[in-house]
């Protein structure tokens, strides 16, 4: 049996005796007999650390790590500086609880305050929270922020990542909100449709920057249309690209959210990730989740605390704006370290490298037979192609060479592939990808 119980059997017996008990079962006399399990759990008995390490290492070995990877769609393989992992693994940051006792949690609180500041800087908005579960739930929480008694319609761009749309729908199901997807046309939100769907019952419109297909939309115009109807304008953004792209603040967004994973978090099969949320100051008291604030201590020195807790569940109970209490503090810390190491120039460099490589790859791909761009819009580091061939087979073949190609779309989008590049993809890798595709195509032609 593996165990982290420090007391020895002898000590346990001594304690039991000192309490006047004869056995462990005496401690559980208050549990009704009918409820006692009365048998051992039907799971294996414990094993030593050596054995568990062998076991988990074997399971990890059953996953394939692609050295060459061209897939994004919400999870991005950016470079993670060594300092980032090192800092985030500090035991104090790892093992502390939510910073309720401010006096012995200044490190966590200040780190959150710094994170909030950095996210505000990136998005060009006024206030931010300490983070939420992930980018999808951040979008859902943003929608909840926008709802008012008289504004109950929620419009979602159909050119957003479907996971965002689905999560918003789940969150709002049964709450009386009406959710509509504004159709995409040529890979971007159909502006006319949006115009028509907006009314004085509309709480908000959500759009993604760049969108699911990798395209930069006309965020200026979309924002204008939305705000004219009195609805809130919400953008879901890629934080690394915000080092280069016009910000939600500049586009007049009321709220910006996004998936913070690109900021130094590993792919990790989807989590833990990091949802960030920013808003105009007007909306500050509607932000869900934890918020760190600056104040003074009894000695007159600067101090940090969790603040604005009147919004929260442990005070407001069923009247709280959200039930969320955990943020993703350690992930937020990771993102802060990443941003500190990269700085504005580094961030822009990552964005430029990612973008330039995407354009190089797009041109190369479209020079191949049966490949063409799916849409005409401007793109950054993701783009969508149409392949007039068997996409599944193509991607399977690439996998054999240790290459994870773009994401093949399903349903009405079958044949489309969304590709992604970052600074991690070297020219050699891309050229090899092209060569491999040529081989596959040659081979197909043979048959």
């Amino acid at each position: 049996m593996g165990t982290y119980v420090p007391n020895t059997k002898t000590e346990q017996e001594e304690i039991l005796k000192s309490l006047g008990y004869t056995g462990m079962e005496d401690l559980f006399v208050t549990i009704p007999k009918e409820v006692l399990l009365g048998r051992a759990l039907d799971i294996p008995d414990g094993i030593s650390e050596l054995q568990v390490k062998k076991k988990l290492s074997k399971i990890a070995g059953e996953n394939k790590v692609f050295s060459s990877l061209f897939r994004g769609c919400g999870a991005y393989r950016h470079y993670i500086p060594s300092i980032v992992k090192q800092v985030a693994s500090k035991e104090e940051f790892m093992t502390a609880y939510t910073p309720y006792q401010a006096e012995i949690s200044q490190g966590t609180l200040q780190a959150i305050f710094e994170f909030q500041t950095m996210i505000c800087e990136l998005t060009g908005l006024d206030v931010a929270n300490a983070s939420v579960y992930d980018g999808c739930s951040a979008a859902a929480e943003a929608v909840i922020m926008c709802r008012e008694r008289k504004r109950n319609r929620v419009l979602l761009s159909g050119a957003m990542n479907p996971q965002i749309i689905e999560t918003v729908k789940t969150y709002l199901h049964g709450t009386g909100a009406e959710i509509f997807v504004v159709p995409a046309k040529e890979g971007v939100t159909d502006k006319q449709a949006l115009q028509q769907m907006l009314d004085d019952k509309t709480a908000c419109f959500l759009v993604q920057q760049p969108n699911f297909y990798g395209i930069l939309e006309d965020y200026e115009e979309l924002g204008k249309i939305t705000k004219e109807s009195g609805a809130r304008y919400v953008m879901s953004c890629n934080p690394i690209l915000l080092g280069m792209l016009k910000t939600p603040g500049e586009y007049g967004a009321d709220i910006a959210v996004g998936e913070g994973q690109p900021l130094g978090l590993s792919l990790s099969y989807g989590g833990p990730y990091l949802g960030f949320m920013t808003a105009t100051s007007e909306l500050m008291r509607k932000l869900p989740g934890r918020i760190a604030g600056q104040t003074k201590d009894a000695r007159g020195e600067t101090a940090y605390v969790l603040t604005l807790q009147a919004r929260e569940q442990h005070i407001r109970r069923e009247k709280a704006s959200s039930s969320i209490c955990s943020n993703e503090a350690l992930c937020a810390l990771t993102a802060s370290v990443y941003l500190s190491a990269m700085g504005k120039k580094g961030l822009k460099q990552a964005a430029t490298l990612s973008m330039s490589k995407a354009h190089y790859l797009a041109a190369k791909l479209c020079s191949l037979p049966r490949f063409k761009m799916a849409f005409e819009g401007d793109f950054v580091h993701e783009f969508t192609t149409v392949y007039e061939g068997n996409t599944d087979k193509l991607l399977d073949e690439l996998e054999k060479y240790g290459i994870l190609g773009g994401l093949p779309l399903q349903g009405t989008d079958t044949g489309k592939i969304i590709w992604c590049t970052t600074e991690m993809n070297s020219k050699e890798e891309m050229d090899e990808l092209i060569d491999r595709i040529k081989e596959v195509q040659l081979h197909e032609a043979d048959i």
Binding site: F93, S323, V337
Partner: protein, 482 residues
């Protein structure tokens, strides 16, 4: 200490990324950010020092005793972290084809199975990222269940007033009306009040058991039956599961759906407030409604199914807080059936030992045995000396131990809720006992001194009112950058 923005005021450059090896693509001007970005690259030396300084200002489980009631701050084994850092887990994309992530799918599937047996549930979803997220998801299952049966009038969730604040908040968020019912003085469910509350509009009932006083509800089977008989479902808040692993199971108590906090019971680190993980388990009647994606067995291999016929849908992106699951799985496999039971036994033993040794000094409103936590009341002390629970908590900081949960549950005035967990040795508990006794004596002898605590911490008591009244929640560059 200074903020990172005050330490580095110019961008000192980065050497992290390689030069461009393809022609540069220029972003069109219309898309370009114009607003200045205050984000200066800090030299690695200074990053290392800044975060070292911050880390020294954080108290973690590795720093000492951390008996936060209902938070189960047990030791976080390093082997779990080592396993979660394996490249085979960290470097896989969530949208990789199933054939290339069989190990990851096995992690999810095995963890689901193990948790099902530990709690007596039929299946689990590991999607929710935290306890409150799990509650929300579980309540969505209850909604889906009634909807599927066309039983649309069931719009109310009954919550005892002793419940954690997340319970009513999650219920409201999931679109339910919340009905609060009172508790008995032991924090038990007031059975008569429950009987009156249930009815045709009852969607479900939420309960933490053992409760926040550390007591196991003696009427648990009657309670769940009352709800079932009324057509409602029973929701179990798993916050306090650490008392009963291998001893009793929510599934055997009449609960239909529940969440766990892997970051409590299953030893994954809290990270200063996350990432957590809040798996949702349920009985067969609800499994069809579990959120997507689902891991399914297909012959010899696993697949990830997005099939959503009856599912409530997606509650977050991708596949849950995966690396947290790896840690929890490592823990469960290490402890096994025998180790989990031993953990709960020692958690309860430690709580009773601590309570027994404090009860002559402090008022413990309920006599033993308690479960994994217990409550003491400082009401008398306050009346006598003016020293409040808050004051006592702050004084504890100067002893280098973390205070207990304060002022909860509400039914005990000036409450301290202590949960020592199983990973403290008797030697550690004895040390804590002598600290608590000394503290009590000091409170009696020199109350003013206690009220002026803490003194040894890096800051004194912060002004929370000022923080909330004039919120400063980000650094203002305009005031400090030339």
């Amino acid at each position: 200490m200074k903020l990172i923005f005050e330490k580095t005021k110019i961008d000192r450059g980065s050497m992290l990324l390689p030069p461009l090896d393809v022609p540069e693509t220029e972003l069109k001007a219309c898309y370009k950010r114009e607003k200045e970005l205050h984000l200066e690259a800090m030299p690695e030396t200074d990053i290392s020092r800044h975060y070292t300084e911050l880390a020294e200002r954080v108290y973690g489980v590795n720093n000492g005793f951390y008996p936060l009631g209902s938070c189960t701050m047990k030791y976080n084994p390093k082997v779990n972290d080592e396993m979660a850092a394996l490249p085979g887990f960290t470097d896989i994309h969530p949208l990789q084809p199933a054939a290339t992530v069989q190990g990851a799918l096995k992690v999810i599937s095995e963890t689901e199975k193990l948790l099902s047996e530990i709690t007596g549930m039929d299946d689990y979803s590991l999607q929710p990222a935290a306890g409150a997220h799990g509650e929300f998801t579980g309540l969505k299952l209850i909604r889906a269940y009634h909807e599927k049966r066309g039983d649309v009038k069931r719009t109310k969730i009954i919550v005892p007033d002793s419940a954690h604040g997340t319970n009513p908040a999650s219920a409201a968020m999931a679109g339910f009306e919340v009905v609060n019912i009172p508790s008995t003085d032991k924090g038990f469910v007031d059975v008569e009040a429950l009987k009156k509350a249930v009815g045709e509009d009852t969607a479900g009932f939420m309960l933490t058991n053992p409760n926040t006083l550390g007591l196991f509800d003696e009427n648990i089977l009657e309670i769940t039956k009352i709800v079932h008989d009324a057509g409602g479902l029973n929701y179990y808040d798993g916050a306090n599961l650490n008392a009963i692993m291998g001893i009793a199971r929510p599934g055997d108590m009449g609960f239909d759906v529940m969440h766990l906090n892997l970051h409590k019971t299953f030893s994954t680190p809290h990270g200063g407030g996350g990432p957590g993980s809040g798996p949702v388990g349920c009985k067969k009647i609800l499994t069809r409604f579990l959120p997507v994606p689902r891991v399914k067995r297909n012959g010899d291999s696993y697949v990830l199914s997005e099939d959503r016929e009856d599912s409530i849908g997606r509650v977050r992106g991708f596949n849950g807080n995966f690396l947290v699951l790896v840690r929890a799985l490592t823990y469960i496999l290490t402890l096994g059936a025998d180790g989990l039971k031993a953990a709960s036994q020692n958690a309860v033993l430690n709580a009773n030992y601590l309570m027994e040794n404090l009860k002559d000094t402090y008022l413990t409103p309920f006599s033993g045995p308690c479960m994994h936590e217990f409550v003491i009341s400082l009401e008398e002390l306050k009346k006598e000396t003016g020293v409040s629970a808050l004051d006592m908590a702050k004084a504890l900081l100067d002893y280098g131990v973390h205070p207990p949960t304060m002022y909860f549950p509400l039914i005990v005035h000036e409450a301290f809720m202590l949960e020592p967990t199983e990973t403290e040795s008797r030697e550690n508990l004895d040390k804590v006992i002598s600290i608590y006794k000394e503290l009590y004596k000091r409170a009696k002898d020199d109350p003013e001194d206690i009220k002026n605590s803490p003194k040894k911490t890096v800051i004194g008591r912060p002004d929370e009112v000022m923080a909330a009244r004039t919120p400063v929640i980000r650094y203002d560059f305009t005031g400090s950058i030339n």
